[in-house]
Symmetry: C2
Subunit: 454 residues, 2 copies
């Protein structure tokens, strides 16, 4: 990790073009803090290139001088991976927002090439014009950029059907730490010519290279949708229902859940009335998408429970409100610890049963809120009533996750905020292999120091 030398910003501006370099503290400020405002630091300068050559020149200049670089996309991350804090204090922030070019939609291949600065909702709109969709969708769609989503292997609500970002990225162009550019953008369905460099860059959180373009898979837009909200008595039974649905029903787009006090919380905070009588236990939302009538297996499984269903856009949105309202309702209670974890299906019920007591044992005033992507075993553990910097909360939850064989980061990434707990999910041998790969591609350690590896 470089020791934050004083950066010759004028020299950097001369090397990469003065129009791309910002050192004005007022403009810098927006790049120096994450959107939750929890993590804030100081950048030597912000570089906002418009071309891959500008990105490469920035990296080459910094690499020669041992200057740390923090790549930044839409700055919607939750783990301090895109702001100059900790080991990256005083770094250059490399904003990819201006690389937002969009290539023509290739209808024959169902693909499109885009720059990392493109926002998710702009990509989705573009795909829609051509009768396609993009396979990943998530709450921050208006501000999250493709580059940040690639860097974090973003997941969201449709991983069940289409996989996470890694499954959508068929090729990349990226600048490596030394300023060399690797480009492999043909997007071929089968292409076994060497190591999966694209897959390695996806999810590397800006520590191995900076993606400057991505070749993305598009999926057909499906005309018909059904959303069912059902109340299932226990987590264990909900997990079994999900397995049965996955086995019997083709075309599931999402299976989400609100657990614990979620329904009461949304009632109290948002005035949201229960969606149906007897709404207790786990609130499970199932979305199917396809053509024509929904498969009969879906109704056959869910008719055992109290439920509500909708096929029209307004009705579907009303049902989704019970899932998407959770973040808003929690924010009205207080600034939460946002922990994003995955449990094996067989361990989910045990984890959910244990987590409130484990948290209150660490911080008695704390309150636990649970929701997430049930089909993926992905639980968003939100904790209010504890100071957001009180790491006893994170420590207690993440240790419990590890005891149940889960992952301490489902989709938000490790960043700087969780790096100290990486050993809960990864062995020493794995971390040694990560370090070897990191040294191989970034020998001077300039790329996003402190992220993933401490």
């Amino acid at each position: 990790v470089p020791s934050s030398p004083t950066v010759d910003v004028a020299g950097l501006a001369a090397a990469v073009g003065p129009e791309a370099v910002v050192s004005d503290p007022v403009i810098r400020a927006a790049y120096e803090v994450d959107w939750t405002r929890r993590f804030h630091g100081r950048a030597a300068a912000i570089v906002r290139p418009r071309t891959v050559d500008g990105v490469a020149a920035t990296l080459a200049w910094c690499n020669e001088r041992g200057v740390a670089v923090v790549p930044q996309g839409g700055n919607t991350g939750l783990v301090a991976g895109g702001v100059p804090v900790g080991a990256a204090e005083g770094a250059i922030v490399l904003s990819l927002r201006h690389l937002d070019a969009v290539g023509p939609v290739d209808e024959l291949a169902a693909q499109v090439s885009v720059g990392p600065g493109l926002e998710l909702d702009r990509l989705s709109a573009l795909a829609g014009v051509h009768g396609f969709e993009f396979g990943v969708d998530l709450g921050a769609r208006a501000t999250a950029t493709i580059g940040g989503m690639v860097a974090t292997n973003a997941g969201g609500i449709r991983v069940l059907r289409y996989g996470a970002m890694r499954a959508q990225v068929l090729g990349t162009e990226a600048a490596l730490a030394d300023g060399s550019v690797v480009r492999h953008m043909a997007g071929l369905a089968k292409d076994n010519t060497g190591y999966d460099l694209t897959g390695l860059l996806v999810g590397s959180e800006g520590t191995l290279g900076v993606v400057t373009a991505a070749r993305l898979r598009l999926v057909p837009r499906l005309p018909d949708r059904l959303v069912v909200l059902a109340g299932i008595p226990t987590v264990g039974e909900a997990v079994e229902v999900v397995a049965e649905l996955r086995h019997r029903v083709d075309g599931l787009d999402a299976v989400e859940a609100v657990l614990g006090d979620g329904l009461a919380l949304m009632h109290d905070q948002l005035g949201l009335a229960p969606p149906f009588a007897d709404a207790g236990g786990v609130l499970v939302l199932v979305e199917w998408a396809g053509r024509g009538e929904p498969p009969s297996g879906l109704a056959a499984v869910l008719e055992r429970y109290p439920s509500a269903a909708a096929t029209d856009p307004g009705g579907r949105a009303r049902l989704w409100r019970y899932r998407e309202g959770m973040a808003e309702a929690i924010a009205m209670v207080g600034v939460p610890h946002k922990l994003d974890v995955t449990l094996p299906a067989a361990e989910l019920a045990g984890f959910v049963a244990s987590v409130p007591a484990v948290v209150t044992a660490a911080v008695p005033a704390a309150r636990v809120h649970l929701f997430g992507h049930l089909a993926d075993g992905n639980v968003h553990v939100n904790v209010t009533g504890a100071d957001v910097d009180d790491e006893r909360v994170d420590d207690a939850v993440l240790h419990l996750v590890a005891e149940h064989g889960g992952s301490i980061s489902a989709e938000h990434g490790v960043g700087r905020a969780k790096a100290k707990w990486l050993g809960l999910s990864r062995t020493a041998s794995e971390i040694a292999a990560f370090r070897a790969i990191k040294r191989a591609l970034d020998p001077a350690g300039i790329l996003n120091p402190g992220v993933i590896l401490t």
Copy 2:
């Protein structure tokens, strides 16, 4: 690359257990030649461990002494990646056949853990007992092992629907060159805790580590199937039909093609009569799988062409014979050059039109046979009438692929046979990154020298 020192086989046997080490030349012989019998070399010994510890001990012993190791699975490869030839002459062959353990099928997660020595058809049978299938299927299913399929990122006929091996492998256990073992087998759907080591090992052809177990995704077994064989006048039109089918029809399992003289060849060599009158142009095979009636869009697209269809197993097998008979018919003409390439959809027609003339310009007596996985742009270019070691054929075809923006290896891998042409599909910067990763994980260069990187 190690310089093949004389190997102390007795010392190796003492280190890893004498029962695992074979030096008898008669037994060795089967491991020293590939199944096409084109590539044959000499191994210092064959090591056949029964445990991950045996694999790790073998690697640690070889790593300390700079002894090259060639991992071998079912030995069904086509690119000399699993036999001790070229830079691996005199190496240890590390057979993974005896690591064929099968864990219980996890029905809740739709996953199973298996050893690398398990054959594909045994995995498929096991999955079937529990109502599942495995997402990858290919012709060599009786002998190909999961380990070899992981190492080569095997593709086959259902990549369109389920992706290649990389998409099925949710976790791995692997021994690295120094004998350390990395293990990450929870198979969690969302798990962003560091670099995608599993994805990197998949397709690395035994050059970065030796996979000793894999956590595999299973997919629901679908009860209903329809196969349609259609004659489409031109390659260009066939490519457009595929795009339309992909856009309008859910549940496509495979879209295959027989091109050029294929139908005539199968008639002449196998006595196979045309499947329907007016069978000219490109013979396209479409398989749908799902529940209940096939979607109407499938018939709507294909009824424009002469065709035959079947839903019963016998009828489907008869139609598949027109695609699967190709390899057999070609083998009756002569020992073919087997080139396995991918073209972008928009380039496929141009490539197919050019390839016969390009090949006969290099070797006038040569004859070109074309078939493959149409939806993936994956063409198997088989060339008879030219000596199988006459590299002018390979050189001509692979250069033409590169001119059309394709990949010189679709699913067979690079191995040793294609390593010299890697630069046609990958840039110098990419190959430099591959070398850096290789050095990081295998500093002594013992793992499968000469494969992928020369």
